[in-house]
Structure formats: C-alpha cells, structure tokens
Amino acid sequence: MFSKKKPMWGKKTPLKSSYDVVLIGGGLHSLATAYYLAKEHGITDIAIIEKNYIGFGGAGRNTAIVRANQRTQYNVPLYKEALDLWPVLTKDLDYNLMFNNCGNLNLMHSEAAMKAARMTIATAQFHGVESHLIDAKEAKELVPALNISDDITFPIHGAMFHPPGGVVRHDAVVWGLARAAAEMGVQIHQQTEALDIGTRNGKVTSVTTSRGTINTKQVLISAGGYSAALIYDMLGIKLPISVLTIQAMVTQPLKPVLDHVVSSGAYHCYANQTLKGEIATGAHMDPWPNYTTLNTAHYIKHQAEALSEFLPCLRGVRFMRIWGGLADMTPDMAPIMDGDEQVEGFYMDCGWGYFGFKSCSAVGKYMAEFMATKKCPDILKPFALKRYEEHKLMGETAALVNYSPDN
C-alpha cells in the first residue's frame, strides 16, 4: 500500500495550497464524486483527503451486496440507477468490477413480513425494478440448501426475490474509480488527516490538514461512519446519526452451494458465497454506539446459530476471518445528502448506515452534479437534513428506529 511501487492512482503528489474542490474521506462516495466531477463537469482541480488509505473504511469492509429493492419511492430510483451503473462503470473504468447479478433472496418469516414484502415489491415494480414474491417451496427450488421445515426458530413463509441484485467486488470499485479519477487530474492524498474547515461570513474558505492548509470554496465530507463526528467537530452541526460497529465474517472455502444472496431480517443474517467459495456473512450492529470496529464472540455465535438453522448444510463449517466496520445509522434508515445550506460551499453525504456501498455509483454522479451546478438535483432533494425538523422522515422502516439491543 505504501511501498515504493507507483500505485495505479498516480505518484504521490505534494499538497497544493489551493484546490477548487476538497473531498474529505477516501472512500467510494468521495472517489465516485471526484470521478464524476472530472468526467461530466470538467472539474479536475480536486483533492481527496484520506487519513489512512483509500478504501480503509466501509468501502473495503462491506459484504459487497448490491440491490435496489428498498422500500420508499425516494430510495428505489437512486438504488436502481446505482445498480444499473455497475456494467457501465466496468466498461468506462476499463476495470473488471466482477459484478455478479446472482439475485437476492430476502427471506420472510411471518405473514406480517409477507405483507410488508408485497408492499415493497409493489414499489419496486412501479419503479421498473424486477422483484417477485415467492413461496417457501419456490425459495427451496432456487436455493436447495434452505431449510423450509417448520421446526426452526423462524420458519420460512416465503421470500422476496430480486433477480437483478447480487455482488460486486468492492476493492475493484475503489481501485477502478481511483485510477480513472487520478488519470483525469484528481489528487488523492493518503495518510493526510483533515483537521478543520475554515469559514468566513458563513462561507467555506479553507481546509486544514495534517500536511498544511488548503484554500478552497467547496468541501464535501463523505467519510462514511466518521462523517458525523467530523461534521460536528469542524462545523458544530449535529446530525441525527448513531455510529455503530457492524461485523462480518467468512467461512472456509466450500464447493458451490449458494448461488444467490440470501438474507433474513428475523435472523439478522445475510450470506452469499464468494467466487473463492467462502460463505461471506454479516450480522446485526452492536447494541450501543462505538467506533471500535472490534469483533466479538457474541456475533460469531449468533451467525453460527442463524446459518445452521436456515442453511443447515453449513453446520460444522469453520469461520476463517472476522472483521468490523462502522454503520452511521439515521432514525429513518435513509441517508443525509445536503449542501450549500448550513454553510455556503459545505456539502455532506452521510448517514448511509450499511447502504453506502450499493449506492456509491449513483450518489457520486448526483453529488458531483450538485457541487458543480450548485443546484440540488431533484433525486437528492428528499434527503436534505431539514426533513427531521419538518417531521418528514422517510418510511424505510415501518416504525421510527431507536438504536437499542431490542432491534
């Protein structure tokens, strides 16, 4: 990572004293925003400021699942565009993103969940996203390893089948976007910490980093789980966010057994088989906010219990690796994308929770349009921070989420 070999995204460049645009955070949302600013708007005088290395955070820690079967009319079109962009980006970036649209199978364990699935499917179909309700027998035909018997904790009533979803190699997206952005002149400054944002008369004037001060009129904070703390620390803006560690793990490699992404809300478990053969699986978030990204026996046990119930053929399989990342959760499970509102020239793109990866391509495109034209694109308007004051929370969940051990 920091060897003498020249990385794909250009030689290490000295930090200039001014840039047109500064992006804080070297994750996928920043990289995609930089890529589209350069490609579609001709803005190339851009610095990406990253404390560690690009893809250190959520970009390299997520379980690589992509889908567009969310709940609300605001979210679905955004995720649909993001999903449609994977083949386009693979070609444009000339980089194999290993998009495998194997389809998502979202298991339902009660009649109430089946009813909620019908509503979600209706929304998806209305927006032109393929999504079907299937019964337990059809789910078993798709995934023969499923246990559809009644004698498990949460018997399977049916599933929401979303064929266009799947998995994308997340590291490849980081590298592909970084290379393409760097080729167009974007400077990626790793091992550089953003310390403060300077303002004068309500306008952004500079960004102070560990390697010097940069004069700029436009700055975006899209630093994943670290965004909320940075935004409060630098500008005193409080956000409706709780930051929680979320854990994921992979098993030893197995022969092909699972050719769909399978997820279950009741079991708090999602799993897919990687091309290497490992079962990559993720769990729920820690029951209290923290930035530790530490792993716990609690969730290893939880995953083992959940998987061995609904995919009993995995009993006895060993977990090989476990890791943690951060999820910045909002009460309505929808992100916050806003700009030029609290401080002129300041933009934010955060609160993605565990949805940051699947959205990055489309969000980069629209955040770039927002920053280049200084006009918020219609598709991003519902995600403004003001919605919480106006009690216009999004209906991604049926009830307001309160982050506690009970959910």
């Binding site: 409080k238 956000l239 966010i241 560690t245 923290n290 930035y291 530490l294």
Partner: protein, 96 residues
C-alpha cells in the same frame, strides 16, 4: 466490543445487561414556545463524539435504574464513574 458498566446500585456488570439510552442532552425542552428546531435537536440530533461522552443507560436485566456514565466510544471503556450515593452525599452537603 467488551463493555462493563458500573451501575450506581449493582456495581460493575456486563454491558449486555444494560440498554443504551442515548447521549445526555440535558432536560426535555419546555412545551411553551417549543420550536421544531429545538424539538428535533432534543429528539434526533447527536454529537457522535469519537472519544469520551456522557450517555444514558438502563439496567434492564438488573435493578431497573436509569443513570449516566462517561464512556470512551473509541475503546468502550468507562472514563469516570460517579456513584449515586456519593452524589447524594455531595448534594446533602451542598444543601447544608
């Protein structure tokens, strides 16, 4: 993510016995003249401090007490604990 929490009544216990109750935000705002901004601030907005913060906990599998602790969110370690009885003694002394 190991966490132990010092309950003012039960002492140092496993964190899984407790329910997190949010950041300490001061008293609930007065109903009179309450603005949407102030209500939103109280209900939704957080500082998300990466470091030591004061926060509420509920001893759900224990004595049922609501209390606050200081915890470092980057290490999950309690920074400082003030026992309720010590507080009560201090208050009594202050009243005298």
């Amino acid at each position: 993510m190991a966490l132990t929490i010092t309950c003012p009544i039960c002492g140092k216990r496993n964190g899984y016995e407790f329910r997190f109750g949010g950041e300490e935000k001061g008293p609930r705002p007065e109903e009179n003249g309450l603005t949407p901004e102030a209500w939103c601030d109280y209900v939704h907005l957080n500082k998300c401090v990466a470091g030591v913060q004061e926060e509420w906990w509920f001893h759900k599998d224990g004595c049922g007490l609501w209390f606050t602790i200081q915890r470092d969110t980057t290490t999950n370690l309690e920074a400082e604990t003030v026992s309720m009885s010590k507080l009560a003694t201090e208050n009594e002394e202050a009243e005298k």
